[in-house]
Amino acid sequence: MASLTVRGVRKKLGANPILRGIDLAIDDGEFTVLVGPSGCGKSTLLRTVAGLEEPDEGTVLLGDRDVTRAPPRERDVAMVFQSYALYPHLTVRENLAFGLRLRKTDPAEVDRRVAEVSRMLGIGHLLDRFPREMSGGQRQRVAMGRAIARRPQLFLFDEPLSNLDAALRSQVRVEIKRMHADLGATMLYVTHDQVEAMTLADRLVVLNAGKVEQQGPPLEVYHRPVSRFVAAFLGSPAMNFVEGDLANNALRAEGLSLGYDASRFHGALPPRAVAGVRPHDVVVSPDRGAITLRVEVVEPMGSESFAHGTIGDQPFVARLEGGAIPSPGDTLRLDVDPSRVHLFDKDSGRALDAEAP
């Protein structure tokens, strides 16, 4: 196992900058998730760490070793591909043993490790099948097994769950988490799915347009987003944003007056800003509610429901607890704890409570 350090990595594809100066420091044994929308450069960063791409600038360190220009086979990393990339002409057993055989591992040791991995992943009965004879979930497991059997210094996952259906995805998610706990390995995981990102990560790295937007423990990133981009990306349904005037520790707009915790914001605040409120932070309060939501669509989920509507002319979603389900056309009065109100600069999108970038 090893730590991973990425310093000032830049990469262009043609004239197109993909990575624009990435710095990362991942501790030994840490599970890091790279998350971001399509095209943000997360896969390119992962491939650069794997050695499949070479950066134009910057260095990649594995432990203390500079591997920036080293070919993949000298890095001792394992990668799980989105397509699984199982060798179709080999059986599961041969797929699992492939990397070990290339390294001329002792055959007895190869057998032992294949047995161990297949027990761990519950694929012992599949060992003599070919990839085409298995379901998507089984293939995914074999792909992970192939990485595990190698006992690499670093595991790389490139959206490994995106080809699975929802039920299977949450099941495998748990398994990956357990596997990380068992192996204690350093893992770098790329996804665009914020649920995976939140649930799996020790450290979350949000990428936007080739740069690290924010990194840290997932809950910290969730609760203290440094920008409107991060705030919008994490959480489902996404955070609501309403623009209004700031005055007397409250943001006002048509149909709404939002109090905020002024102690969090240092220095002078601009006269106008964007307030961010997560749907989950809203409570129905017919008496004190300073927010008037006109409901247009309701999504009942059983234990909760989501009311989609508008405040003034700005869209807004609220999470409602329990069985009280409003009808479209109803008007709800809502209240928000001032400590849960985020404020963002209306032009740059930076959080007003964040330190200057």
């Binding site: 794997a50 050695g51 499949l52 070919p71 993949p72 086979r73 990393v77 394992a78 990668m79 591909f81 397509s83 990339a85 060798y87 179709p88 002409h89 492939f98 990397g99 290339l102 390294r103 192939r146 190698r150 790389l156």
Partner: protein, 719 residues
């Protein structure tokens, strides 16, 4: 009803005129250029003289001429009159294709005796003599000013005075039949008809003479018709022995004159006697109107016609009256010289066995010329080869037994079918699938007609002994002959097993090269960094797009010992020029090089397609797993290509196994038939060894059986 009647009437009317013209005559010839123009002029004159008479003319390519005649005439759609050389006279006569010239004794008085003699067989004259063709000596007057050399020795002596790179003389190896009559087949005596005389001290002496001259640089090595004309027309040959056709090619590119062949001082000053070919107008024995046909043939040969042919077609006409009639003809130096040469010439023998004599004689002469064997031994070997080809056919066998077996099989099939058809379920099933049968019916009919029927006929032919049209049932005797190597050693040159070994080696080496080259180039083309990939791809597919015989002929030229591009490169690199077709190893290499060139694009295209189907992330996965470039190739690329390349390789093996064009055109079996493969060997038996179709069919059936067994085996393995 009325309409049907009307239609019937119309059809009858339209058919009327064609059945009414008894005066319709068909004429076939293989002439070209000026000769053809002269013939057409004559035919116009004939039509003017015989209004109402229709002459349909068909120009047939020379290569297919004889076989077309042989198959068309007996079936009644051949010509009434045809023009051909006298060499095949005996063969036509033995098949009853031609009618003799009536009252020949009087009519032939007007013609050159040489020509009449050539057209006489079995005591009768079989065609109206048109022209005599033989060779004479072309002399380059710039290189040899003054009197032309009178003797062979004088030409040999010119070597010392000519500039470097200029040959005193060129001529075609196959025509090397100098004085001394090495080849003469007794024509009139059927009992001695098969005597082969390309053997004996005289023949050996003349051959030795040619070898000496080649060694001394008097004549170039490995000459061919094209080389003769090339060397002489570019001033690289002082003299050339050739026929009137060379004059047509030369134009005024080089100053020359033509003189009769020189004498040979060492043989007592006797003149070199060339062989002559006499062209005649033959009348078909199956003509609808023999009288008119005979008139037409005579019209073509007669003096007035002969003058037209001589003037317009530059023919050395056989009609003596023409020369008397038009004194201008004798003043034409070319015509006069060839006429003089013809007077000394000896007509080419016309025995049917002659056609079987050429191949072994040619092989023997070439072998001796290359110095592989002393002339005498080479000629003796030729004799054995000749005897092998003309060996007595297997004993006639009673076909009753075979017919009984065949009948029994047919009966069993019918009984089985009947029994099956009583089964109710089967009948229901059949009725249900009637529409399906209707859908495939046309395909089944076509496949039966084009594939199954020829196969069955071919297989049936292999049970017959055939030679020059004669044919009778011999059972499995052909197979027995082939599989016992005709009683000789099992691995002797030309034996089935030897040829099979060569064929297997040929297939294996070619397939390895095709796959290796094709794959290597496909991998190169697959590199994303490669610029102008599309261009390279097109260029590399070109060898495949060019017809294979064109490529084969080009490569044959490149392998020429003296003038080929390959030897030019070898010499430029400081090596000795190689006689590519003199030894098995080099001749085989030449064949393989040609076929590799022809075959790799297919494998390349297949590989490119298969490579495109391998996902890129497999390579990335392997790379991350620790595979080197080479390991990625052996562990990912190769196994992933296998499902596609396997069937392609099987196809390639079958194509190569039967690659007739390359073997036939490049090495032509040289040296001495050693590079022959099974198909080209079968071809030889059918088309150059007295039309032994039965024997050739047996070869073909054996090839089919071998390929069927091997591909079946492969299919089982693949499963």
């Amino acid at each position: 009803m009325t309409r049907a009647l009307f239609l019937a009437l119309l059809v009858a009317l339209l058919a009327w005129p064609s059945s009414a013209t008894a005066q319709r005559l068909r004429l076939w010839h293989a002439m070209r250029g000026d000769e053809q123009a002269a013939l057409e002029r004559l035919l116009r004159a004939w039509r003017e003289a015989h209004p109402g008479s229709v002459v349909e003319v068909l120009a047939v390519p020379y290569d297919a001429y004889a076989s077309k005649l042989e198959s068309a005439i007996p079936r009644g759609h051949g010509p009434d009159v045809f023009i051909d050389a006298h060499e095949r006279l005996a063969s036509y006569q033995s098949r009853g294709l031609i009618a003799p010239v009536p009252e020949a004794d009087d009519a032939m008085a007007d013609y050159e005796p040489t020509a009449v003699k050539a057209l006489t067989y079995d005591g009768r004259v079989w065609a109206w003599p048109l022209s005599i063709k033989c060779v004479a000596l072309y002399v380059n007057t710039r290189l040899v000013p003054g009197d032309p050399p009178a003797t062979l020795e004088a030409i040999e002596a010119m070597r010392a005075t000519l500039p470097r790179g200029v040959y005193p003389r060129v001529r075609v190896a196959e025509r090397v039949l100098p004085r001394g009559a090495p080849a003469r087949l007794q024509r009139r005596d059927p009992r001695r008809a098969r005597r082969y005389t390309f053997v004996g001290p005289e023949a050996a002496r003349s051959l030795q003479r040619v070898i000496d001259m080649t060694r001394a640089g008097v004549i170039p090595e490995e000459p061919s018709g094209a080389l003769v004309s090339q060397l002489f027309s570019t001033g690289h040959a002082a003299t050339a022995i050739s026929g009137p056709w060379l004059a047509a090619e030369l134009g005024d590119r080089v100053p020359y004159r033509v003189v009769p062949l020189p004498d040979v001082a060492s043989e007592g000053g006797r003149p070199m006697a060339p062989y002559a070919t006499v062209e005649g107008a033959f009348v078909s024995a199956h003509s609808h109107d023999p009288e008119s046909a005979s008139l037409l043939a005579r019209f073509l040969a007669d003096a007035p016609g002969a003058v037209v042919r001589a003037r317009l077609g530059h023919q050395v006409v056989a009609n003596r009256g023409a020369w008397a009639h038009d004194p201008d003809l004798a003043r034409d130096p070319l015509l006069a010289t060839f006429r003089a040469a013809a007077a000394r010439a000896r007509p080419m023998p016309t025995n049917p066995a002659m056609r079987a004599a050429w191949e072994p004689a040619r092989q023997a002469i070439l072998k001796a010329l290359r110095g592989d064997m002393p002339p005498r031994e080479a000629l003796e070997q030729g004799l054995h080869r000749f005897e092998d080809v003309t060996r007595p056919l297997p004993r006639r066998r009673d076909a009753t037994f075979a017919l009984l077996i065949l009948g029994g099989l047919a009966m069993a099939l019918v009984v089985a079918a009947l029994r099956r058809s009583r089964d109710r379920e089967f009948r229901v099933a059949i009725r249900k699938s009637v529409p399906a049968y209707a859908w495939v019916a046309h395909a089944a009919v076509i496949v039966t007609a084009l594939v199954v029927a020829p196969l069955v006929v071919g297989a049936a032919t292999s049970l017959y002994a055939t030679r020059n049209g004669e044919s009778y049932f011999v059972g499995l005797a052909n197979y027995w002959d082939i599989l016992t190597a005709r009683g000789g050693p099992l691995l002797a040159t030309g034996s089935f097993y030897r040829v099979l070994l060569v064929t297997v080696l040929w297939t294996a080496v070619n397939l390895a090269l095709h796959l290796g080259l094709g794959m290597a180039l496909a991998l190169l083309l697959a590199r994303p960094a490669l610029k102008m990939r599309a261009l390279y791809r097109v260029l590399l597919i070109v060898p495949w797009a060019v017809p294979s015989y064109v490529t084969a002929l080009a490569w044959k030229g490149m392998f020429h010992r003296q003038f080929g591009a390959i030897n030019a490169m070898v010499t430029a690199l400081g090596g000795e020029p190689v006689s590519w077709f003199a030894r098995f190893s080099t001749a085989f290499t030449a064949n393989v090089a040609t076929n590799a060139w022809l075959g790799f694009p297919f494998m390349m295209v297949v590989t490119i397609g298969a490579l495109a189907g391998i996902p890129k992330d497999l390579y990335e996965a392997a790379e991350v797993d620790g595979a080197s470039r080479w390991q990625q190739f052996t562990k990912i690329t190769l196994p992933m290509l296998r499902p596609t390349l396997g069937p392609a390789a099987a196809l390639g093996a079958i194509w190569t196994f039967n690659q007739f064009n390359v073997v036939f055109l490049v090495s032509g079996g040289e040296p001495d038939g050693e590079t022959e493969i099974l198909v080209s060997e079968a071809y030889r038996w059918a088309f150059t060894r007295q039309a032994q179709y039965g024997y050739a069919s047996a070869y073909a059936v054996l090839i089919f059986v071998i390929l069927a067994l091997v591909s079946r085996r492969r299919a089982e393995e693949a499963r």
